[in-house]
């Protein structure tokens, strides 16, 4: 049940009181930050700005807007599949860990799923920072070998005949999955469509929600 590298999900420490597993790391981070501030290597206000950016400003909401636009505007979808970096930049989403974007489209015949087996490469401008599982050993080891079993961990079952392409992000290309538009979403406006897009559906470990389906 308990995977290695599961971040806060695993408990292989030998304390039996509270969250002590992290106390050593917590102290070390604090001491290192103070040292770096004292040496004038980091500006504490810049640290706060970096955290605020990825905690509150840049996240999967960005990607959801891109996908909703692609679902409702065929010309935009064509641009997105042809030159994803430029099409995503139309929203102002650019820069770090999204410098060179590729969008891959899911269809009834072919499902795409994205992994980084070697580290944690992930398209930050459209998805924010990766979830713990994306950076952890179970996903990184299994996605390229048994994606259907991985999808089952997410409660997703694909038809047996659907081809699966798993994209291992070994270079500085960043991949975003364009999930299939769910049935029953006809006539919905872009902002309502964006609500149906999930983070996992843009990684390929999930599907977009049907209207009325719970988050």
């Amino acid at each position: 049940m308990i995977p290695a590298m599961g971040g806060d999900h695993d408990h292989h420490h030998d304390h039996d009181h509270g969250d002590n597993r992290w106390s050593e790391t917590q102290l070390r981070v604090k001491a290192l930050e103070s040292l770096l501030v004292d040496k004038k290597l980091v500006d504490p206000a810049a640290l706060d700005a970096l955290i605020d950016t990825y905690e509150n400003k840049v996240g999967p909401r960005n990607g959801k807007r891109v996908i909703a636009r692609a679902w409702s505007d065929p010309a935009y979808k064509a641009r997105l599949l042809k030159d994803a970096t430029a099409a995503i930049a139309e929203f102002g989403y650019t820069g770090r860990q999204g410098e060179d974007m590729v969008v891959v489209e899911n269809t009834p015949e072919q499902h795409n799923m994205v992994v980084c087996t070697l580290c944690s490469c992930y398209p930050w401008p459209v998805l924010g920072l990766p979830p713990v599982w994306y950076k952890s050993a179970p996903y990184r080891s299994r996605a390229v070998k048994e994606p259907r079993a991985v999808l089952a961990d997410f409660g997703v079952t694909l038809p047996a005949a659907t081809r699966i392409r798993v994209w291992d992000s070994t270079a500085e290309l960043r991949y975003l999955v364009l999930p299939m538009r769910p049935a029953g979403s006809e006539g919905l406006r872009e902002d309502a469509l964006a609500e149906l897009v999930t983070r996992d559906s843009m990684i390929g470990t999930g599907l977009a929600r049907a209207p009325g389906q719970k988050p």
Partner: protein
């Protein structure tokens, strides 16, 4: 290097544990570890490939026991000392013996530098690329001790070039400070049977982004 970070195809890690879209960070210290890592990266003393190598170049037990932000932290401490931003003594004592002359990232530049990013794409040299979409290639069976982005599970394997990503910085040389050695990078598709043998999922293929130096015609 053949390190524990090269996880594709390793068995026994158990199920994937899904999580909701929020929270982004799971402990207050993760936020600080994330931010100091990024901020120090902007000092310009190392590149992304050096940062990746600093994280992966350790013993497998250390790598596998750590959470991802712990791995970042270990890599950061190593780079700070290696690049002479912090002395070994300062790191041991966690006490400054003098300020650095490196130019720290000011708060009002954060948005600008993030939006700019650090593209790895370089101008294409004149002449046609060595491979074109649809062409059959084989990856080399190489095991460099340094940094490489050719995963073990697809070494010595035959695949088909699908996408031409243009000219990109070559991580293997960039990680050791031996220059960018820009070269063509391609998305190469491998059938699951080629990677995993009999019993592999017949509906599966794996796309891997690979540089010219990893490939030969097949």
């Amino acid at each position: 290097m053949n390190g524990a970070h090269d996880l594709g195809g390793v068995d026994g890690f158990g199920p994937v544990v899904p999580e909701p879209e929020r929270p982004v960070f799971h402990h207050a210290w993760e936020k600080r570890a994330f931010a100091i890592t990024l901020a120090c990266g902007f000092l310009g003393r190392w590149n992304i490939d050096m940062a990746r190598f600093a994280r992966e170049d350790t013993d497998p037990l250390t790598y596998l026991k750590a959470s991802y932000y712990q791995t970042w932290l270990r890599g950061l401490e190593r780079l700070l000392v290696e690049k002479n931003l912090v002395s070994a003594a300062e790191l041991t004592e966690m006490k400054s013996r003098g300020t650095s002359d490196a130019r720290m990232l000011p708060a009002d530049s954060v948005a600008k530098v993030l939006a700019k990013g650090g593209p790895a794409r370089r101008p294409d040299p004149p002449g046609a690329p060595r491979f074109r979409a649809g062409q059959s290639v084989r990856t080399k069976n190489i095991h460099p001790r340094g940094h490489t982005r050719l995963p073990r599970y697809c070494r010595g394997k035959q695949g088909i070039v699908r996408l031409d990503h243009g000219t990109q910085v070559f991580p293997d040389s960039n990680a050791r400070g031996a220059g960018e050695n820009p070269q063509r990078c391609y998305a190469v598709e491998f059938a699951a049977g080629e990677l995993w043998g009999p019993g592999a999922d017949p509906t599966l293929s794996v796309m891997v982004d690979l540089w010219d130096d990893y490939l030969e015609a097949a």
